[in-house]
Amino acid sequence: MARTLITAPATAKRGEVIELRTLIAHPMETGFRPGADGLLLPRNLITRFSCRYNGDLVFSADLHAATAANPYIAFFTVATESGTLSFSWEGDHGFAQTETVSLSVT
């Protein structure tokens, strides 16, 4: 399990634009760099990030080799109803992680 930091408001007013910020620990190895032994380090990237709000996709991104390690992704969505926000990262070698936070809308 990779370490993650998610910054999201716990409550919001209906119709309010909220900022969601995520950080995940990941080496984002490009596959182009040689290691100490001169051989290429195998590629190890997060290739896809997505955020679902009560099951609906509200944001997604494809990540590539030029993304720095420990990628930070921040985006906005509109608070419509109380529920859960789930954040998923998928990548090479079967990497998959999902974190959820709950949001209550008044």
Partner: protein, 251 residues
């Protein structure tokens, strides 16, 4: 009496006008500064978060966790990182926070020491350093540290390596100028352990110093060498009064 004299001396030295000290933070790009200011963006917080978990978890069921003896780090560890390196009676030399953690692990928890710059050690160190963030660096007024500090200053001013450069030649005399494309900082150690964009990870002061030493083609110092202890003691003295920034971000 000696202690009092020492205190007076240090106050007097403090008052002597120094060239304006600039933390590495002051010369970073606004976006890197924003990364350090905002905990949600600072990747070092991933390490600090891990460190909080390590603080609460016992290495084996029969021994206490760090929290078992020290309690809540937020209260008990406030200001601690700002006072290291401190003199250790048993080893008869100054030790840094990483060594302190490892000593505690060996003696109180009966657990093996962590390798220098290992993920666990950096995490726990970041968690502890975070509790002192914003407090001034405050090297202990301990007379036993004096000879170490002097030795550290001598090392700081000694030319080393095939390039025959001393720390002082870059970080005192040429600070603010450029080396290649990069700005030469004043070399303050008030943000360690820190997240370096070049490393894409958190690293210790030891790693940074070894980095510089390899750069001037010198033999890098070992983690447990007396030279490193002396140099770290001097650097803490050089930074006294500056706010602890750990876990900082640097380019």
């Amino acid at each position: 009496m000696r202690r009092l004299l020492w205190l007076l001396l240090s106050v007097a030295l403090h008052a002597v006008a120094q060239p304006a000290r600039r933390s590495g933070f002051d010369d970073m790009s606004p976006s890197t500064q924003a990364m350090q200011r905002d905990d949600a963006q600072n990747p070092a917080m991933l390490w600090a978060q891990d460190g909080a978990a390590l603080w609460a978890r016992a290495p084996s069921p029969s021994v206490p966790a760090c929290a078992g003896c020290h309690g809540e780090a937020r209260a008990s560890m406030r200001g601690v990182a700002a006072r290291y390196p401190a003199y250790d009676e048993a080893l008869a030399r100054p030790i840094d926070l990483a060594t302190r953690i490892n000593r505690c692990r060996e003696m109180r928890q009966g657990a093996p020491r962590w390798a220098p710059d290992s993920q666990e050690l950096l995490s726990l160190e970041s968690h502890l350093a975070l509790q002192s963030r914003g407090l001034p660096v405050e090297p202990p007024a301990d007379v036993r540290l004096l000879p170490w500090r002097e030795r550290g200053e001598a090392l700081y001013r000694a030319r080393i390596g095939q390039l025959n450069l001393s720390c002082a030649q870059c970080h005192d005399e040429r600070a603010g100028l450029r080396l290649g494309g990069g700005l030469i900082p004043q070399g303050h150690a008030n943000g360690y352990p820190l997240y370096r964009l070049e490393w894409q990870g958190v690293g210790s002061l030891l790693r940074r110093i070894r980095n510089c030493m390899t750069g001037v083609r010198a033999q890098p110092l070992a983690a447990d060498s007396p030279e490193f202890a002396a140099l770290a003691t001097y650097l803490a003295w050089r930074d006294r009064g500056m706010p602890v920034e750990s876990p900082a971000v640097r380019p």
